[in-house]
């Protein structure tokens, strides 16, 4: 059987999103995230980290008002870093929104993106062993630092027995994870999957590391704007429940959008300098995979880091892919609101895209000061825009020259 409501032209399953959950700089939960997005606020603020008299203050969006003991037991917290906690909170929210119970998830897959994993514990262990010259590492160092702790915690909580793993492609992790999960659901490896990304690494060492790479903004993240100077760190998690259209219909689930297509590519040029050809290839693949024409895309959630180079290159990518339609495309950066959440970025940005699709709102780019001739696109500056669109793209690029793009469509 090919085509129709349940199958793609190639006979594989159509894959839809039936629930989403989010933890962001705006707080725990999707309502806080969407409210922050549509009110065009930013969660980024000067954030201070210290170590023995040394201090670094950089723009970052950490999870507002977060108190771990409100959500987890002491025993859980002993082995779960915030990146794991956020993933479970977002997963719980997504599962509830999808109208699923744990019993419905026994055979589900879990595929998450995560760039750094347990960076907090790595930093503490380094201090303990090298600065304090202690002979023993903390006993929870290994379970806390493992990237896959995020998958494991979700599986334990809901007794999910299906395949679970983490994809670590830095800033593109979330988009790669969703693409991989969608591929598995499409081809019957799982009927349902929990996918997305998580990250929590706003720590002294990470601030210094991104500083050294000359990527952190001097004030705040203002993508596509004149006067932009870089990214702001962020933390959080975005999780989506995806399933076959057939499964969603069978159980009368609310369908938010279809994961219509995805594309993945490598720049094969340079570790840190982005290219145009790599992202173009990923976006073109996503559109072809979705069977969408460029002029059907009404909104694009950009990688939009706010570094001078990324935004210039990403604008060129938009022109290369969309041609004259680039002038009509709304193309904004959610990173201006929640910072760069690295492994979670692709997931949270796709969630913003999907909510925009379902609610007829284009998310904004905030902190915008004025036009940059190198970024001649409509970045939806400073205010969310009421505007219906039927299809959209979210794209992520990472150091190493790896790229992923996802196309979604209203159902």
């Amino acid at each position: 059987m090919t085509g129709g409501r349940y199958r793609r032209p190639d006979g594989s399953h159509r894959v839809v999103v039936t629930g989403v959950g989010a933890v962001t700089g705006f707080g725990v939960g999707l309502p806080a995230f969407w409210q922050g997005v549509t009110e065009a606020r930013t969660a980024i603020q000067p954030t201070r980290r210290t170590f023995e008299g040394m201090e670094v203050i950089r723009p970052a969006a950490t999870v507002a008002g977060y108190r771990p003991l409100d959500h987890f037991s002491e025993a859980q917290l002993l082995t779960c870093e915030p990146f794991v906690q956020y993933a479970l909170l977002a997963a719980n929210e997504a599962i509830a929104a999808a109208g699923l119970t744990s019993a419905d998830l026994t055979d589900a897959a879990i595929v998450l993106g995560c760039g750094g994993g347990g960076e907090i514990s790595r930093e503490e262990t380094a201090i303990h062993l090298f600065a304090n010259r202690r002979p023993r590492a903390h006993p929870t160092t290994v379970p806390r630092t493992n990237h896959q702790a995020a998958c494991g915690m979700i599986a334990i909580e809901h007794e999910i027995l299906g395949p679970s793993f983490v994809i670590a492609t830095g800033c593109a992790s979330g988009s790669h994870a969703i693409s991989q999960a969608a591929m598995m659901v499409r081809h019957g490896y799982a009927e349902r999957a929990l996918t997305g990304g998580t990250e929590a690494n706003v720590i002294y060492a990470v601030m210094r590391a991104f500083d050294a790479a000359r990527t952190i903004a001097s004030d705040t993240c203002r993508p596509f704007s004149s006067g932009r100077s870089g990214l702001a760190l962020g933390e959080g998690s975005g999780i989506l429940v995806i399933e076959t259209m057939e499964s969603a219909d069978r159980r009368g689930a609310p369908v938010l959008a279809e994961i219509a297509g995805f594309g993945m590519s490598s720049d094969a040029t340079d570790t840190v300098q982005p290219t145009i050809r790599g992202p173009v290839r990923a976006v073109m693949q996503a559109l072809a995979d979705a069977g969408l024409n460029t002029d059907e895309i009404g909104y694009l959630n950009a990688h939009g880091t706010g570094t001078p180079l990324n935004d210039r290159v990403e604008t060129a990518v938009a022109h290369a892919v969309f041609g004259p339609h680039a002038a009509r495309l709304m193309m904004s950066s959610t990173k201006s609101q929640i910072g760069h959440t690295f492994g979670a970025a692709g997931a949270l940005e796709l969630i913003a895209t999907i909510l925009g699709l379902t609610r007829g709102v284009a998310p904004p780019t905030v902190n915008y000061q004025g036009a940059d001739p190198d970024c001649d696109i409509d970045c939806v500056p400073n205010e969310a825009r009421a505007h219906r669109f039927g299809a959209a793209v979210s794209q992520s690029f990472a150091f190493g020259g790896v790229n992923a793009a996802i196309a979604v469509r209203a159902v």
């Binding site: 002491e74 025993a75 002993l78 082995t79 202690r134 023993r136 903390h138 006993p139 929870t140 379970p143």
Partner: protein
């Protein structure tokens, strides 16, 4: 520390209690006696391992390294730590 010192007043036990509470803050108000068994505290194994680590750090002793993590009660642990700490001072 003479053995006649009441358990609750033992500085060694005070340090051990601090380590327990550091790992499991909800045990702060728990009444401990020498006969309190660790397996009755409802702790996960990783919590017990971490408490042991904190005790090793605080007293500068090696409980695990010496294969001595065989205590069952708070009293046994206090005696063990006191013995290891004394041995360390003699060695030093």
């Amino acid at each position: 520390m003479p053995d006649s010192t009441p358990f609750a007043d033992s500085p060694v036990w005070g340090g051990i209690k601090d380590c327990i509470v550091k790992v499991v803050p909800s045990l702060r108000e728990t009444e401990f006696t020498p006969d309190t068994r660790f397996d009755r505290l409802g702790l996960a194994s990783i919590q017990v391992i971490t408490i042991t680590f904190e005790i090793e750090e605080l007293f500068g002793v090696g409980i695990v390294d010496e294969g001595l993590d065989v205590f069952e009660t708070c009293g046994e642990l206090e005696v063990l730590v006191r013995r290891l700490a004394a041995a360390r001072e003699v060695t030093a």
